[in-house]
Amino acid sequence: MAATRDDPAGAVAHNAGLKHVLSMVVTALAGLLAAVGLMRRVSTEACALERAAISLAAGDLSARCGLYGATDVGAAGQAFDEMAVSLAELEQSRLQALEIASHELRNPLSAVKGAASLLSMRMDEGKQACELRPLVDIVMRGADDLTAKMVQIFDALILANYWRAMDKKPVELRELTRKALEPFLAQDDGNRIVTRGLSDSLPELVVIGDREQLETVIASLVSNGLKYSMGRGIVHVTVRPTEGGARISVCDRGIGVLDAELSSIFDGFSRGGNLEGRDPGGLGLGLYVSAMIVRQHGGKIWVESDGQTGAQFHVELPTNPVVV
């Protein structure tokens, strides 16, 4: 109904109605604009995410979309960036593993190749067998070194990719530790192994385990302790009962483990970072293999260190006198 000059009440109502309609139109327009803005933002974010995904798929591990979680797409983009960071770190670890393996295999290979070349020349010169012996010994040592490293790589691959069939039987941990330490105690290289809790007069500590694999763990921890002692080779090995289990501790007074490495020290191809240019040698697989063996025994392995005055490695295994 149209308002007239004669009907002021109707005019007021008419104006109010118009205002109301106008207000609705403005609100709708504002909503539309906001929706368009949001759509544009989502569209821009989706494009950024798509570009980063395409770059990453093409092999550019530095690709990031730079989004954050204000929208669903932003949250997805943030998750994408975190995944890309993890992928880049994995790739870096893979390259580092290749670098370490390359270096550690090149050294013994150099010795074998050089000694073989010299042997060939010496034989052509008609040298006596006794004169060739030192070169033959170098070839043998190099071949043994290469073999040991290849076995370690193979073991690590097997343990990482398959649940290795273990020959688990009841084994007495004090006796097993004494046996594992024999090669170290027999070496006259100035290093000292100090033991506690290994006397056969102490109560037995029986665990269900693969004897050979558990000896590998102890040997690996002791070897690691001596290596990172850098000439201060005193390693303490202690075996003692715990609640429901047994603990083997291997403690050294070496260069220690940096805080940042405490969580990654059991990763494959991991080597100490506080070496200051010194090369400890080795593939960095000993602790990795040890951790996998311990976990496959239902146990746990960890390290404590202040980063300066040595490291304390602990292995805890469940004791169970019943064969399962």
Partner: protein
């Protein structure tokens, strides 16, 4: 004949380097790391060339080369790297601070040829 200082911590490789270089008519002094090489130089050894591994205990090859270049007495001493390490910024001395690089495993004749070339160039 040249006087050669070899810094190498791997005993077997050091022995092979000594045999190869002595067979080629040179005199070889061995150091088990960079620090021992510097001690030998300080004690009066005057080599015509230094061959060094990179990853060694006490002092790496990188630090050895950098120390040599910063000392006027050894700044011009030819330095040859022998390494199994993949070239990267952390382990290698800066470009231009060393004269030659031989990767392990090396061919013994390549090694002898390179040493002879560097020593010959230095004496010209």
């Amino acid at each position: 004949m040249a006087e050669i200082l070899v810094a190498e911590d791997e005993a077997d490789i050091a022995m092979i380097l000594r045999e190869i270089l002595e067979m080629a008519g040179h005199h070889v002094t061995l150091a088990t790391d960079g620090a021992m090489a510097l001690e030998l130089l300080e004690s009066g050894l005057r080599p015509d060339i230094i061959l060094t591994d990179l990853k060694m205990p006490r002092m790496s090859g990188r630090r050895l080369v950098e120390t040599l270049r910063s000392d006027p007495r050894t700044a011009a001493l030819p330095a040859m790297l022998i390494t199994g390490a993949i070239p990267n910024a952390d382990d290698f001395p800066p470009d231009g601070s060393y004269d030659s690089l031989i990767m392990k495993p090396f061919d013994i004749w390549d090694l002898v040829d390179t040493v002879d070339r560097l020593v010959g160039r230095c004496r010209q």
